[in-house]
């Protein structure tokens, strides 16, 4: 990748983040149209996009943003309030900018769209301007009496050029704002031997006569502001003929902070009076500049050190690599522990123990790095809800809760599309039209509640609406029609509701572009299952529907219980385990060979891994076996194993493509001695056992 491409990529990445922020701000603005702070944030974001866009050759975006800014300026100046149309326009613009970024070249389509938006904008501006301008009278640029003189000292951070910024661009922009004199200051340039050609040693003093406001001037430097020191002072407007009032050079220097008053006095004591006012600076002698510089440098250093950022950007590949290494380290640690236990050498035991503690800490830290708050995803849905409700003529708010809940980055990325599907469904099928809601005695505005929270080793994300709820009879009828169930089946509500997760199932007779094609829900279910999670659904007629997604905290390492059956090792994720009990042949005979056990008065079914996985010859080998009681969403199931070894940190390894369709196995892990243990997918085992039971009934 060439240097330039790298910069462009960096810009694109940055711009995409900015566009996300932009959307958030615009949506918040819709709720609080009066907020000056939000408008300023909007400005800042746009300006950054515009500035860096033009720098990296995304001129299309830069131009477009520039026009947007102009429009927004009217709002900022209070010449126009924020209307829903304006918000729409901003959102459309945002989408367009995203598109421009994606296509990266000037495509006809985007430029046509841009034209359309700009025409609307212009129309909008044109409509407001004539009636407003005469009132304020400050918009006409040629009006000389509105000119104000500013003095600027532009001291860019030494690293600005490394970021790809050409200071000349800034100066040219400044120059274009009015009658302007700029002089470069070279006194910071070190001797040739010490020059680092990539640093910026210059600073500039400028004086400008302009109609632009102080804000506008600041705006030019908005996106270098953080690392640079830009001082802008408004000069008192002196009529030129009043020559007597001109300031002394010393005063100007003091005002600029170059030297203190005392220094000026000292100098003045030694020197003759300084000459008449000069607009251009840079006329003081070297040692005075130096002394002032030392002072500035100290202040500057202080400032810079306090500005040191405390986050860094790291590519995901590097993180993945780190995660893999830690995973391998955990495995090696297990081997080391085993060896140390066998050797029984005191001298080794203690460092190995320490090592284990460190490894565990390292593992936790590394996992933690990959965790992100789900908020990132949640925020994107505000826009979705807004647009969808508008296009469907419905009215609903999205309320989010628990956005700070953290999830593995990969999980967050992959959960995004399923969530979109679910939210779409809620709006399309769940939330009723305002009239229907009024009739049902509900507030016209529906609510979609998106919540996230942690429970044990799982994160639960739920989408809840206060809409119509699922129509049991309709789903049942459709199910029969599509041959998913039989007319004669008696099914519980939950079983009927689960039909909507079947491929191709849809109760909506007309396909809208939102939903109804019957592809959504099964994709949702499949994707979530792939993340080792699960979906469940509750619904009450006329009260709403709640869909809960259970997700594992991380995809990389889980705590599990290591068990043995025949010669095979199986790891059962600890999250699902409630307890372990013994199973004797006496217990079995007491239940007449039925696969159930009594536990504190409760009857719990169990499956024997030996039989279920067809291990050995399916014969019971030991008098006493162990039942691991697993709980999945309140349902219990016993898993019968030969032995229980104990707690195990399982670094999850995928079984790969060939074993994509396993049942009841979610992955593998490598034990200390190098053997492979399979990780059980308890939820799937449960479903699988149930399905087989159902099939058996049919056969009987």
């Amino acid at each position: 990748m060439s240097r330039e491409e790298k910069f462009r990529d960096a810009f694109r990445e940055e711009a995409i983040e900015l566009l996300v922020q932009l959307e958030e701000v615009v949506l918040s603005l819709e709720h609080e149209p009066k907020s000056q702070e939000l408008i300023h944030r909007l400005f800042r974001i746009m300006h950054t996009i515009k500035g860096s866009g033009s720098m990296f050759g995304f001129s299309e975006i830069a131009d477009f943003t520039h026009h947007l800014e102009n429009a927004l300026d009217l709002v900022r100046l209070g010449k126009h309030s924020i209307t829903p149309e304006f918000i729409n326009l901003l959102l459309c613009s945002r989408d367009l900018m995203q598109e421009m970024l994606d296509t990266n070249s000037q495509s006809l389509e985007t430029s046509e769209q841009a034209d359309r938006i700009l025409t609307t904008l212009k129309g909008w501006q044109g409509q407001r301007l004539p009636e407003k301008v005469p009132a304020s009278g400050s918009q006409t640029k040629s009006e000389p009496s509105d000119q104000v003189a500013y003095r600027l000292r532009i001291k860019l951070g030494p690293n600005v050029m490394a970021g790809g910024l050409d200071p000349l661009c800034l100066l040219q922009e400044l120059h274009s704002m009015g009658e302007c004199a700029i002089s470069a200051q070279t006194d910071l340039v070190p001797p040739l031997s010490e020059i680092d050609p990539e640093l910026c040693y210059f600073y500039w003093d400028a004086a400008i006569n302009t109609t632009a406001s102080l804000e506008d001037l600041r705006g030019i430097f908005l996106f270098v502001e953080d690392e640079s020191r830009i001082s802008i002072t408004r000069l008192e407007h002196d009529p030129p003929e009043d020559a007597l009032n001109h300031k002394k050079l010393g005063e100007i220097l003091v005002e600029r902070g170059d030297i203190s008053e005392e220094q000026v006095r000292n100098v003045l004591a030694r020197q003759k009076r300084v000459g008449e006012l000069m607009v251009e600076a840079g006329f003081i002698s070297q040692d005075k500049v130096d002394s002032a510089l030392v002072e500035q440098k100290i202040v500057g250093d202080l400032r810079n050190s306090s500005l040191q950022s405390n986050t860094i950007r790291v590519s995901t590949e590097k993180l993945d690599r780190l995660m893999n290494l830690v995973g391998e380290m955990v495995i090696t640690q297990a081997q080391l522990n085993q060896v140390s236990n066998q050797c029984q050498i005191q001298d080794i035991a203690s460092p190995v123990e320490n090592m284990e503690r460190l490894t565990n800490e390292l593992r936790d830290c590394t996992l933690n790095i990959r965790m992100l708050p789900v908020e990132v995803t949640f925020n994107k849905f505000r826009r979705l809800v807004r647009d969808l409700t508008a296009s469907l003529g419905k009215n609903a708010d999205l309320v989010t809760q628990g956005g700070e809940t953290e999830l593995d980055k990969t999980v967050i990325e992959r959960i995004h599309d399923p969530l979109i599907h679910l939210i779409r469904n809620s709006i399309d099928h769940g939330i009723e039209t305002p009239e229907e809601r009024r009739k049902a005695g509900k507030p016209e505005k529906g609510t979609i509640r998106l919540t996230a929270g942690q429970s044990g080793g799982e994160v639960i994300i739920s989408i809840e609406d206060d809409g119509a709820g699922l129509n049991r009879n309709e789903i049942r009828a459709k199910g029969i029609e599509q041959n998913l169930i039989n007319e004669s089946d008696t099914l519980s509500d939950a079983q009927i509701y689960n039909l909507i997760f079947k491929p191709g199932f849809s109760t909506v007779s007309t396909v809208t572009d939102v939903s109804g094609r019957g592809v959504g829900m099964d994709i949702v279910k499949r994707e979530i299952t792939r993340l080792r999670g699960s979906v469940s659904l509750e619904s009450k007629r006329n009260q709403g529907t709640r869909i809960s997604i259970h997700l594992p905290l991380t995809l990389a390492i889980i705590e599990g219980l290591l068990t043995v059956t025949e010669t095979n090792h199986y790891v059962i994720p600890l999250t699902f385990i409630q307890e372990c009990i013994e199973l004797t042949s006496r217990d079995i005979s007491r239940t007449h060979g039925r696969h159930v056990i009594q536990l504190r008065g409760e009857t719990i079914p169990y499956i024997r891994l030996r039989e279920f996985f067809a291990l050995g010859h399916g014969q019971q080998k030991y008098d006493v076996e162990y039942v691991v009681i697993a709980v999945v969403e309140g349902k219990r199931l016993g898993l019968v194993v030969d032995h229980i070894i104990g707690d195990h940190q399982a670094v999850i390894k995928s079984l790969g493509k060939m074993y994509e369709h396993t049942e009841g196995i979610s992955g593998a892990t490598i034990l200390g001695d190098g053997t492979i243990a399979l990780i059980l997918d308890v939820r799937q085992l449960m479903e699988c056992a149930r399905r087989e039971e159902a099939e058996m009934f049919i056969r009987v």
């Binding site: 067809a614 790969g656 493509k657 074993y659 058996m696």
Partner: protein
């Protein structure tokens, strides 16, 4: 050997399955292992033997005999696993293939490879790239990508979804019907 000849020659690893001599392009082969510990993955077609630990990576192992419709054989000292690297649906995968014994690495000029005969062989010819000769023995050259192709995987999927043949019968036989899952919760 002149340059053209070198350019037209591929190297093959030869191995046996029963009495037949097979060859596979060496560029696809990473290494050959002694028979490792194989952990069976339950409820999968029987030619998928399980997974093995290859330097802390989980690698699936397939039984080529079963795959090609040959009868399965006893394990001997010569039995080994050929680790093959190939692409499956755009994803780089590593797979172990069980072979009765591994023979040698062989140079075969391309013009000495003939297309596989349509009949007369006691195995599925879909996996063959061609036939070669080594001395007076025939050499069946395998197309490893095809052996592990996605079409084959679909077969696996079907088998997994409708378990038929010995696997499911074994499972059914063990479970005296009706008693196994009785009492499982109604709603899951």
């Amino acid at each position: 050997m002149n340059q053209a000849a070198i350019a037209n020659t591929d190297q093959y690893l030869t191995f046996t399955l029963g009495d037949e001599l097979f060859a596979a392009e060496i560029s696809k082969i990473r290494e050959v292992l002694d028979y490792p510990t194989i952990t069976k993955v339950p409820r999968m077609p029987s030619y998928l033997l399980g997974v093995t630990n290859l330097r802390d990576n989980v690698v699936p192992v397939i039984d080529m005999r079963q795959k090609f419709g040959l009868s399965s054989a006893e394990r001997t000292v010569d039995t080994c696993v050929v680790i093959v690297e190939t692409e499956l649906e755009g994803e780089q995968i590593t797979i172990g293939c069980l072979a009765d014994s591994v023979k040698e690495v062989l140079d075969l000029p391309r013009d000495q490879i003939e297309p596989p005969p349509r009949m007369g062989l006691d195995l599925n010819t879909d996996f063959l790239k061609g036939m070669g000769k080594q001395g007076d023995k025939f050499l069946l050259i395998l197309n490893m990508d095809k052996v592990l192709s996605s079409k084959e995987l679909r077969l696996v999927k079907e088998t997994a979804e409708n378990p038929s043949g010995d696997e499911s019968e074994a499972a059914d036989g063990d479970n005296s019907e009706g008693s196994v899952n009785q009492g499982l919760p109604d709603e899951l």
